[in-house]
């Protein structure tokens, strides 16, 4: 199974390198696109070519390998789901990506640069790492106003992103302490969209959203991807990812287990089965007949 994952990962790397990340269309066979597209001087070294790139990123805390040689890329026009049980390293990887955490080795780049070296990253990449990490005493509108001020955006942008995520004028003037998790997620996504970014990095954005909310998010992310955005979203819930993502990177115990389109990873047996098999050896999930996100999550918690 590991070998299959490896082969698949290599396959997808090559495929991504060919610059054809438009994954919803029937995937062209990789053999016809083996030569990576080299583009100007914009793309430095290596075989990957994506708007988000992880290159052999490892992160070691003491004796724990939180990330182990993580390599993958997210190209323009795709929604990539970063799927793995709780504690698999998803959040750590995203924190490394946006420069909040330093990798022990390897590098992660956004639009070809380490995130922290971008002049004003908030205008190129929108990030939501934890919808709960807000001052409860501020109103939703105030949080967005602070973000808009920081990025030098007109205040009218605040109203626009509020409309975009479906938060009403009245809700936006309430203190965040009274928000439901779903409202906080919407606020977080609104904040990420402030700078009209080309890249979106969302950690567990579907947590707390109701089915309508997930449907709404799918449409929004699809729309953004269709306009050229690269979207990377993490989740431990397989069905959520399945609904919104067109590509999936599976991670367990800090390692990339497999990556590819939803159809590829399903391989005729369903995505769930693939996920269970891949995570069975790396996590303490029971491994059969149960919903992996839930059980793997409990096992790892």
């Amino acid at each position: 199974m590991d070998r299959t994952g490896q082969v698949l990962a290599t396959w997808v790397d090559l495929w991504t390198a060919a610059g054809i990340a438009e994954t919803r269309k029937a995937a062209p066979r990789v053999e016809t696109h083996r030569t990576p597209v080299r583009c100007g001087g914009a793309r430095p070294r290596g075989a990957l070519s994506g708007m988000i790139e992880f290159r052999h990123v490892s992160k070691i805390y003491g004796k724990v390998r939180a990330l182990d040689d993580v390599t993958f890329a997210v190209g323009p026009g795709s929604v990539t789901g970063f799927l793995g049980p709780n504690g698999a390293g998803k959040s750590t990887a995203l924190r490394v990506l946006v420069g909040l955490s330093r990798p022990s080795s390897g590098s992660a780049t956004v639009l070809g640069l380490p995130y922290a070296e971008m002049a004003c990253p908030g205008l190129r990449a929108g990030t939501l790492l934890d919808a709960g990490a807000r001052h409860p005493g501020r109103t939703g509108r105030e949080v967005l106003t602070l973000g808009a001020m920081t990025l030098g955006l007109p205040r009218t942008r605040v109203g626009e992103v509020l409309d975009l995520v479906g938060l009403t004028e009245r809700e936006s003037r309430r203190r965040i302490g009274g928000y439901s998790l779903g409202m906080r997620q919407r606020l977080g996504i609104a904040h990420a969209l402030l700078g009209d970014p080309e890249v979106l990095i969302l950690d567990e954005p579907a947590n707390g959203l109701d089915p309508q909310g997930i449907h709404w998010m799918r449409l929004l992310l699809r729309h953004l991807a269709d306009s050229g955005c690269a979207v990377l979203l993490s989740s431990h819930l397989l069905h959520e990812v399945e609904q919104v993502a067109d590509r999936i990177v599976m991670i367990g115990r800090g390692r990339v287990l497999a990556q590819g389109t939803v159809e590829e990873l399903s391989r005729g047996r369903g995505l769930e089965q693939t996920f269970l098999e891949l995570t069975a050896h790396t996590d303490r999930s029971p491994g059969t007949g149960t919903f992996p996100g839930v059980d793997a999550g409990r096992g790892a918690a």
Binding site: C120, T127, H135, G137, M149, G152, R157, L220, G228
Partner: protein
């Protein structure tokens, strides 16, 4: 407008793909992003400054502490005016008690606020150059120290006039500029001490407790024999900055002030900066 046109250095332009070749893309999602935004320029410092100043007063706790400080300045000036000979310098000086207590608290809260509610996750994603955020956070409390010192003086003038009028006592209008400058300097140092403590500990309760208990501790240390007395003499910032207001500071006093300022402000601030730059933000 295409996204490639929207962002001059859009990577999608360098990577031809079916998506970017379609000029009819882009959408209402993107709305009116313009203003002074420029993805290729670092965020100007004045903008960070405006944001950090706003964060200081856009929450209840920040607003309350600011209002309480203004209120206490007025109250202490008026209260002193009721009991002493009318002299603006004396009355304004009384406000130093309130400022000396609350300016460090305000400074600590601005430094530690991001970590209490983990808003650092957002702040340092928008500005990854963390030292710039630290610098922007340092300025408002220092400006507040200057502004509140001058405000105390402004309040003291009419209070003096009223007290002199009501009590029939001649007012002493003598205000030495060097005193006002020195006294303002003391308040700025006190705020800076709070900033440094907050930056070092990144924990509001711990920093506030240390800030509020040190005067008591120094009083105790000062009585612990010659060593304790020497320590207090050189390191107690409250004592060493007192000569600032007299206008005839000696070299020895200057050396003591510098020593205690290095100990309480420069060292913790430098350590806090290093800690902040290396910290994993979670």
């Amino acid at each position: 407008m295409t996204r490639a046109g929207h962002h001059p250095h859009d990577i999608t332009r360098a990577t031809p793909s079916p998506v970017t070749e379609d000029d009819t893309l882009d959408a209402t999602v993107n709305g009116t992003v313009n203003g002074t935004a420029n993805a290729d320029r670092p965020i100007p410092f004045r903008r960070l400054l405006a944001v950090e100043a706003r964060k200081l007063v856009d929450t209840r706790s920040g607003m309350i502490i600011t209002l309480v400080m203004v209120g206490l300045v007025v109250a202490s000036v008026v209260a002193r005016g009721a009991v002493v000979r009318p002299k603006p310098q004396t009355l304004a000086g009384t406000a130093g008690i309130a400022l000396g207590t609350l300016l460090p608290v305000l400074a600590i809260l601005t430094m530690t606020g991001e970590w209490t509610h983990r808003t650092a996750l957002t702040t340092f994603v928008l500005e990854p150059r963390r030292h710039r955020v630290l610098a922007a956070k340092s300025v408002p409390p220092l400006v507040a120290a200057v502004a509140l010192s001058l405000f105390a003086m402004l309040v003291a003038v009419p209070v003096t006039a009223v007290v002199a009028e009501v009590g029939g006592i001649p007012a002493d209008w003598d205000v030495q500029p060097i005193w006002l400058l020195g006294w303002t300097g003391v308040n700025v140092l006190v705020a800076a001490q709070g900033l440094a403590l907050g930056a070092l500990l990144l924990n509001a309760p711990a920093a506030i407790v240390i800030s509020l208990t040190t005067p008591v501790l120094w009083a105790v240390v000062g009585r612990l024999g010659p060593v304790g007395a020497a320590l207090a003499e050189w390191l107690d910032l409250n004592t060493t900055c007192a000569p600032l207001t007299s206008g005839d500071m000696t070299w020895g006093e200057g050396a003591r002030l510098a020593t205690s300022a290095v100990f309480w402000i420069v060292i913790p601030m430098a350590a806090g900066l290093v800690r902040l730059l290396r910290k994993e933000v979670t």
